[in-house]
Symmetry: D2
Subunit: 479 residues, 4 copies
């Protein structure tokens, strides 16, 4: 049973009893909570696609560990083609979900960790790479959902982990025991964690010797003792709480904070512990992979943004106006560039000693830089095209009111062929696409902030070679 | 009593009994509703400022009708200095309110209507200008709040008012009676209407002879029979409904739809009725004035955006990082340009036959074009500077929970000198500033869409003169 | 001898006697003219690279027609990998030449023509495809330079070819003879034509039945009777005419106008003649290929721009200033995106019935749209980094003057380790890179103008599918 | 004779015998040199305008020193209106000259120096302010041209003046004598110096005590002994040297380097000498004034850019195409914003102790930041609109050649009503506007580089106040 059905996925979550708080309340079954269930539905949709004839072409592939067909979300990247297919898969899913389905963080993390686990083993004779392969094999067999816990709360950003007044501002080992380690700290912006079976915890930055207790990487089930998830509130919550005006009729996103209140992790699930020189590369690998993932998924969301804008324009009778068509092209320019750079980063990938392929960092960070800067403009263009009705239409509850409903239906009609209800639906979708804070902020800060992307580009481009090219053409002797 | 206190303002609203629906419910006292009261507070703040020693310098001026000190929100623009002071007043208020206080639409509308009322009287011997002055005089005396109803629902945008299948898609006169007219239609995006005493209704576009029933301008009290207000839902509603995590601790915005279900208007409050050739100029005047207003108010909001970003950075320990300071400058560049162009549009204003001054349309539309395009970037920069915590922090309710509250307080601490509570407050403010859909969409579509601004610039720039300049310099004979 | 040396290339040009005018003078041996010879040197450099161990990996490949190793500039694109290697080859060459070497237009044209020659043959039983293959085979054997003549002078742009007052504003057949055709017209912006052996003439737009005499495609030697080349003047000509201050010490670009004054073309070199329905696709194919080429070559030039800026900054002592490094990253973002989209357009290419692969049009046009908009910003950033000395330094002649030379050398010194001469050289290179009009305008208009790219993107994106995605997510029934 | 005629201006230059080198040759009468005379013509045009009924309204005003009518280029800014009129004057002149006429640097410098001369006198009992007034009075009487020498060559940018290996990399006092001082150094980018009567030398940066010999400000005639001007070469020089294809038929720009080879300056013309704490403010004042000037002059040039683009489009038959009109609006948006911010910086100016008004630094630097970033885009749009013929048309010499001239005239025709000659002229003007390096680089680096503008904005904006606004709205106690 390496490929689950959506039903099996939901069933499997019932065995988990994560400690969960939502808006101040302890919640027993978070997956059914109105603020959570729409993201669970997005994850479930990936399972549906794994069983769909078209979807499985992208989502299912033979495991290099077992040969068995497994979810691509749980597979190592063993070739440029694996990376290319990942981008296409994420684009395909996002086109159909219109937002996040969270399984890519786990996928990117197992690969990012794998490269350094291997490297560390070579130097120190550790056995992290074997442990990780074992963990992944089991994950593949059960087709589980893994979220990657990367971002620490960080306290004072000007200080390193070991310099913080409170030593817990970065997750760290507080006790080394015979059978495992005890960890403490907090990871934030943990997209979808309440819908996952496992967490794969990765250091959030490069570490120095003094920080070595913070150089820790491990896997842990989401209902481990001491692991507490707290829902992080966002925009547009009144709608799911009231069960109407959802915009995206089925799917949504949330990003909790996950507290590690002295959580025990057995050694078999520890993939780095103290070898601080690998911490930085783990998170850099993760960043590069995850920016590469965004190139696929945000292009897919972009197609929805464009389609929504075009539908709204059409429903208002202005779909083919010259300046609006021009704006469609400007929107596509951005989404296709994001996608194109991720495709190129796959083609120009290189093999690491572990056998895992790593993307071209300049191209994957270029993709993300454009996303960070220009998806905001794509969204702005969507709003510009769709007009003011994207933000302040009456509620479904008003339409249902017999006193005013008929009048609203009359007055909010657009072109003759489209019902007011459908027109309102598309405006609500646009509102969701434009104002779901978790999505918008992910465009900018997901997989690291723009300054990180710039630094990564600078670090990985060969500036000396570029200078030499110029000097030679200028007739300067460069020997 | 030409200047009211906030208390008098609230008192005066109690005499009104507007027909109001909010999320499907008929509401008797909308001003106390959690979704409405924060905007009422913003309006009340303008009254407080009228009585404040510093505030009154900008907000209060002698009426040209009576000589008495009146609210500048109810005054005709009688000089470039009136226009300049308007811009400064709006900037000042927005800096202190962090968003909309809605009284500028009425101010801009009485002036926009006044110019054409005068012109129409000259041609047709009507008495609109005298009526309007009378109306304004009374408004000044009672220091009332007027909202301007401009935007119709518009149906199929490709069709003119008289071509629509449903003749009510633009507000129009359905009956002319001896003592007045009866009007039907719907105005949408009516910012703050539930906090106003009067509506001043202005045609939304230029009209032709066939549309002459749509060329109608009038004032009406907000509790007139047949006038129905329906709350338009936006983002971030769960927070005020739950009474926590507000972001802006005191102020907010809403924009209802206002239905005119055969509302009677006595002739004394009618300022245009059928003289279709003045409809277009009324709304164009209004647009130019209102884009000019935005230059002041959005610069003021911009100062709050910049201050919020800088506070968040400081609270996280990165306030003086080089690339962040660079971003502050980029943000100011935009907000100051918006303001500067509105200042310049005041200086380069011209007197109309009515004695009312009209702003330079090229400069005021330039201001708005930059707002429409670049305020999104200012907001994006604020998010980029502030980081991911702007969107998914736990709720005040979680902090209040004894099980997890202390842990959250521990883990969400930034620099030593700032409490977690204050840090969370600034992130919530940023969330409000970035995701309050009514504000964001107003940046783009308030006072007309960007294409309208471009058209206005083209129409009012002397392109033939520019061509001649070039031709002459090129040595082409231009006779 | 399918691969020529630079010497053989220069030798081969001596057999040509093209009719050539430069600045009003008839010139016998244009390749030695100071305004021409630096582009000939760039072309010769491609020959050198064909014989270079590293260069040949990219520049030389087996012919699918003969199996013999031939120049990639004369090869059909028979696989995604052919397209990918083209992009890499052009990047490599541009990095080393710092500008144009012109051979890509011929390469793109033989492929663009080939696809439609094949299609036309299938429908009409013509033999264009066989003729073209024969022509290419001979071209490969002699390793010749072909330029593609696409852009007509176009007269009044609002009129189609057959509607022009002067019928010659688009090149057309004026006589059909037993042994060939006679053509008349003028092609403009013919980069490097004076350094080429052959012209491959392609229609510049889609044609209708009335335009069928304009639907003509053929090859012709550059010294054919009636073919007249007139040098088009650009910027920075005083420097080569005076033999100093060149900036790029070896290479440059020019773009003549080519007049066809009743030129005879034998049938064996005619590849379309009257089958108007293929004209549009020929030029569209060419455009898509050529935008794809730009993705490689302009990224290579971009590397030189970045290297030049970094060298100038370093020579002035500010190479590592934070805001300057940030600008390097912004420059790379653009150049890498242009490149990445062309790489992706190769990967997502498709086979045509002729067996020639065609690039993904959305991605290749996205690459070009970014080039058209953002290379100007890359250049602006280069100037911003390098400072004012990029534009107004004294001449080499001043440095050679004994009265002032020593003072100039003293005062124009930057950091201690770099001679003034080298510093001046890099500023002159930047001047050349920033102000060589043929290069700058090529960024914008080469391979079609930005509006064409937008239209191509719109035509090739599946907008209906995008609308369906949005509608489905909004909960609208789309059946 | 406080207002000269153009003839008197030319006559007055004959009395000067400046030491001048152009392209390696010593030149006796630079004003007649083909590379210089077109800028002299631009300066002469300002004199014509001083005598023109329309022009004099802007260019002539009563002196506050003598009451006599004088050139505004030699007047202190005594009111916001003086500053406002300056902006309008510069816009007016640039519209008619299409580029630089250089007299604004002297105007801005006398004011910038005046403020600090006054301040220094107050502190140290010096008599700089009286001397400066005397100097200006004489300048007014003779209506002379003054250029301001600000920018030093600077050597290693990472070092302060006194830290440079060669002490002459910033201009400094090498000898203090009884009757005056001797100075050495070099000023670069000295726009139009060869057309001026006087230089007013201003320190280029803030100075510390160790740099006090560099804190020197003085006036000197352009033919002073030891003052050597060396022409700095730019683009488009072949055209004036050949006397054809000029583009701008009458006017152009150049920017020499000016060497001070131990130049003696009598005390009466020294306005700062060692009081280092005023050096920084002098150049900051100058920068703020000069950025303010650019807001007028570059808007005027922008009108020519727009007019040229529109003429080219019209001549090609596409003047009213929708996407082209949209681009006109985008161009105006930029030029009007630049202008608007300078107008606003005038309105919001403040009086200094000297009685000279200083512009609002945030607004004037905002104007310049937009110029630095977006004029490049305005130019790019001009090229995009005008098309490829802006860069590579044959020369006037080709049109004059009887063999090919008639064919060129035939083939380069656009719409029927316009001659080919006129069409070519407009393309040549666009080439000049797009590729005259001195103008383009001035957009970016004139009056300081963009980073300087950002720093100035940050230094002059009240960031603490903005933070307080945000904190208060967030509900944070700010005491």
């Amino acid at each position: 049973m390496a490929i689950k059905t959506p039903e099996q996925y939901y069933e499997s979550l019932k065995d988990l009893h994560p400690t969960t708080y939502i808006l101040g309340e302890k919640v027993d079954n978070p997956v059914e909570h109105p603020l959570i269930k729409h993201m669970a539905a997005a994850v479930a949709e990936t399972y549906r696609m794994e069983n769909d004839p078209e979807g499985k072409k992208l989502l299912v592939a033979p495991s290099d560990l077992t040969g068995e067909d497994v979810s691509r979300f749980l597979k190592f990247y063993r070739s440029p083609d694996d990376l290319l297919t990942k981008v296409r898969m994420l684009k395909f899913l996002s086109q159909n979900i219109g937002g996040c389905y969270m399984r890519c963080t786990g996928m990117d993390a197992i690969n990012a960790v794998g490269i350094e686990a291997y490297n560390c083993d070579q130097k120190y004779g550790t056995e992290y790479w074997a442990r990780l392969q074992e963990f992944v094999k089991t994950a593949q067999k059960n087709d589980v959902v893994i979220f990657s816990g990367v971002t620490d709360v960080k306290g004072n950003r000007a200080l390193r982990p070991s310099q913080q007044k409170d030593p817990d501002m970065y997750l760290h080992v507080v006790q080394r025991k015979k059978d495992g380690i005890v960890v403490r700290g907090a990871k934030i912006h943990q997209t979808g964690s309440m819908c996952a079976h496992w967490a794969l915890i990765v250091p959030t930055r490069e570490m120095r010797e003094a920080d070595k207790d913070y150089a820790v990487c491990f896997a842990v089930p989401t209902d481990a003792k001491g692991l507490i998830q707290v829902y992080g509130r966002g925009t547009l919550e009144a709608q799911p709480l009231q069960g109407c005006d959802l915009g995206n009729a089925r799917f949504s996103k949330f990003s909790p904070m996950v507290l590690f209140d002295d959580v025990f992790v057995p050694w078999e699930h520890v993939f780095l512990c103290g070898e601080y020189e690998y911490a930085g590369n783990m998170v850099r690998n993760f960043g590069n992979y995850h920016r590469h993932s965004h190139g696929g998924c945000k292009c897919g969301v972009g197609d929805v943004l464009i389609g929504a804008a075009a539908t709204a324009a059409e429903y208002s009778g202005v779909g083919n106006v010259s300046h609006i068509r021009n704006k469609y092209a400007e929107m596509m320019k951005v989404t296709e560039a994001i996608y194109g750079c991720s495709v190129a980063a796959s083609v120009e990938s290189t093999e690491t000693p572990s056998g895992i392929y790593t993307v071209d960092p300049v191209l994957s960070n270029t993709s993300k830089l454009y996303e960070g800067k220009e998806m905001a403009e794509v969204i702005r263009l969507m709003i510009e095209i769709a007009g003011g009705m994207t933000t302040d239409l009456p509620s479904d509850k008003d339409f249902a009111n017999p006193d005013i409903g008929p009048m609203l239906t009359k007055y909010l009609k657009g072109v003759d062929e489209v019902t007011t209800e459908d027109r309102v639906r598309i405006f609500r979708l646009i509102e969701k696409l434009a104002f779901e804070s978790r999505d918008i902020v992910s465009n900018i800060h997901g997989a690291g902030s723009p300054e990180t992307h710039r630094m990564t580009i600078l670090r990985n481009s060969n500036m000396e070679a570029k200078k030499k090219l110029a000097q030679k053409l200028a007739g300067i002797k460069t020997d």
